[in-house]
């Protein structure tokens, strides 16, 4: 076991444990913060694997934008300090969540482990740098990439439309 393996195991464990804590804690804001730790240490996993670009983009997008937005929405609405009993879910939902989560993990493991178990990458001289990622995203995968951005745009406009519709109805009622 090399140092790199050890670091990867440690960072990976932090990622998994904080992800679990994010869904089990009763503090709303703490859940967001555990999600933050999980996404941040996932960026650490990428860094250990020698992919600086992916790691930093992960940090920039998820930690720097998405979780900040989640916190922002929480603080705009309700972000009490201390545990909240009313957000706890019934037992059958928790059991179902555990089963579904476990099944998804098992499926992914069953699919990916045989596929990539024999792959060998020299992490000290990584072959995929910024240029290769750019060529993949804007060359080979340019159509799925553009399609995804259109999807996000549609979601954005949809969100606007929904919020305007709600306002409109309230105006009519008044």
């Amino acid at each position: 076991m090399t140092t790199r393996d050890l670091v990867f195991v440690v960072v990976g464990t932090i990622t998994a444990v904080s992800a679990l804590l994010a869904v089990t804690t009763r503090h709303v804001v703490h859940a967001a913060l555990w999600l933050l730790v999980s996404l941040g240490s996932l960026a650490g996993c990428y860094l250990v694997l020698g992919q600086e670009l992916v790691g930093l983009v992960q940090l920039l997008v998820y930690v720097g934008a998405i979780v900040v937005l989640v916190l922002f929405a929480l603080m705009l609405t309700r972000a009490p300090i201390g545990p909240q009993s009313e957000i706890s879910t019934p037992a059958w939902q928790r059991a179902l969540a555990v089963v579904l989560g476990g099944a998804t993990s098992a499926l992914l493991a069953a699919l990916l482990l045989p596929l990539l178990a024999s792959a060998q990458v020299d992490l000290d001289r990584p072959e995929t740098g910024t240029t290769q990622i750019a060529q993949a995203v804007f060359g080979t995968w340019v159509w799925p990439f553009e399609l995804l951005s259109v999807l996000l745009l549609v979601a954005l406009i949809g969100a606007f439309a929904v919020s305007r519709l709600v306002l409109h109805r309230e105006g009519e009622a008044a």
């Binding site: 804001v29 913060l33 933050l36 941040g40 600086e52 670009l53 930093l56 983009v57 940090l59 920039l60 930690v63 720097g64 934008a65 900040v68 937005l69 916190l71 922002f72 603080m75 705009l76 972000a79 300090i81 201390g82 740098g129 910024t130 240029t131 060529q135 804007f138 060359g139 080979t140 995968w141 340019v142 159509w143």
Partner: protein, 482 residues
């Protein structure tokens, strides 16, 4: 399937055609092969000490300069010229009582100032402070480390640093800090977008995100000239990013009694203070590296003695001078400008800075494409200088579009101003609305003639009736406003 493979072929063949013109690769030029771990440690400690000393100095500098701008002496009691004032303040904050509010979320409340203070230091690891020097017999660049995506690291660390403010605001368990935290969240998210976009132009010009490569690419021309617009946008966003006046809306001591750090005291408060000043140094250092040629000597000094003053330890001097120019700018801004209103600040960020920076990035992409020969290789000669046809055409198109946009915008503004212009009537009845109103400039007061002079019941009648009518109508008016 065939479409995507064709696109891939094009993408592969394009860079191959222009490698001679484009900067060769995006890898750092700084060579760390002769840097053992203990030299790297020495450099890291050196940067830490450099930043702490600079912070001690800049707080004194700021108070003295602001004092001079406001025609008062500033701190001048501790040490020569009051130089030890910051040290005294630091000692004081260590000895003060450290208060934790009863409602606070204790762990987060303690972590927040630590995040704010430590994250400010991290980004400095990739800033090149000087050329290659010899430390204890090892040839090493005056920079802790460099990676092909170094500038992204600064942006990522800045986005983590904002959690210090957000969490401090939330965990205090108090209203003003929460409002400050909310404001800073919105502020930093929106200004980070414009900041990242303004740096894209530099990536396009240098062909790299590695700081040492960007500095090396500026050896003949600092990017402040070809990317002047990016520089302007970056300077605006860096003030927004560091929560400094005129953009210190997260603190807003007049409105939020200190904002996110209202409940903090003693050393935890000092942590925020330290973080803020180190952050100023970090964004200034990035501006120096990206736009002002980093550690390289200014053009005329660089020519002295065949570049004898342009490299090695001399780089540290030029870097420090450029850094302190930005520091003076920060202080100058604080001394001259009032705080902007929050909605104006957000509108400026989202509706002006981001769209116009996007347009600028597209323009720079076209200019760079023309320079690298993507749009044809034709050239022509004017006054002995060979110019590329494509570059000239693209630059003139961009200039025409910019001029037209500025013209239309100016026209619209003039129209709006004309529409908003309100000509007050020449005479004013000061009691018309039911309460006394002073006249506007150039207005004549209409004397309340009937009451004092007593010229008859006929003239008294309208005055009283108008007062009663406004009295009865005023609740209705308020309702429509509310």
């Amino acid at each position: 399937m065939s479409l995507s493979t064709a696109a891939y072929d094009i993408a592969l063949s394009l860079p191959a055609g222009v490698t001679g013109l484009a900067p060769a690769n995006d890898n750092p030029v700084a060579d760390f092969s002769d840097t053992p771990w203990w030299v790297a440690l020495i450099k890291a400690v050196g940067v830490f000490v450099y930043l702490l000393l600079s912070t001690l100095l800049v707080i004194w500098f700021e108070r003295r300069v602001i004092g001079r701008m406001q025609q008062r002496p500033g701190p001048n009691r501790n040490g020569p010229f009051g130089l030890l004032q910051t040290l005294a303040d630091g000692m004081k904050s260590m000895l003060k009582e450290d208060i934790t509010p009863a409602n606070a979320d204790r762990i987060v409340y303690t972590t927040a100032p630590l995040i704010a203070a430590t994250m400010a230091f991290v980004s400095f690891a990739i800033i090149p402070l000087g050329g290659t020097v010899s430390i204890f017999g090892h040839e090493t660049p005056l920079q802790i480390t460099d990676v092909p995506v170094a500038v992204l690291l600064v942006l990522a660390v800045a986005s983590v640093g904002v959690y210090g403010i957000v969490l401090a605001g939330w965990s205090s368990g108090s209203t003003y800090p929460l409002l400050g935290g909310l404001r800073s969240t919105a502020q930093v998210i929106s200004y980070e977008i414009a900041m990242g976009l303004s740096l894209v132009a530099i990536f396009l010009y240098s062909g790299s995100m590695s700081t040492s490569q960007i500095v090396a690419a500026q050896s003949s021309l600092w990017y402040i000239l070809p990317a002047f617009f990016s520089f302007a946008v970056y300077v605006i966003t860096m003030v927004g990013e560091t929560n400094r006046l005129p953009f210190d809306l997260a603190e807003g001591e007049g409105e939020l009694t200190g904002g996110f750090h209202t409940e903090y005291s003693a050393m935890r408060f000092a942590m925020f203070y330290l973080g803020e000043y180190v952050n100023m140094f970090t964004v200034s250092a990035l501006a120096t590296t990206m736009f002002l040629g980093g550690w390289q000597a200014p053009p005329f000094i660089a020519a002295i003695g065949d570049g004898a003053l342009n490299g090695g330890w001399w780089g540290l001097l030029w870097f420090t001078i450029k850094l302190w120019m930005f520091m003076f700018f920060f202080v100058w801004l604080r001394g001259s400008l009032p705080r902007v209103r929050y909605d104006q600040f957000m509108r400026f960020g989202w509706r002006f800075l981001i769209p116009i920076t996007l347009a600028w990035v597209v323009a720079v992409a076209f200019i760079r494409g023309a320079q690298l020969g993507f749009l044809g290789q034709g050239t022509f000669t004017i006054g002995g200088r060979e110019l590329s046809v494509a570059t000239v055409v693209i630059v003139s198109i961009v200039a025409v579009i910019a001029l037209a946009a500025a013209w239309i915008w100016d026209d619209k503004r003039a129209e709006r101003e004309a529409a908003a212009e309100f000509n007050p009537p020449e005479e004013i009845d000061p009691f018309e609305g039911g309460f006394p109103v002073p006249p506007l400039p150039g207005q004549r007061l209409r004397e309340p003639s009937g009451l004092a002079v007593g010229s008859g019941a006929a003239s008294r009648e309208p005055v009283t009736s108008s007062v009663t009518s406004t009295l009865t109508s005023s609740p209705v008016k308020e309702e429509t406003h509310g």
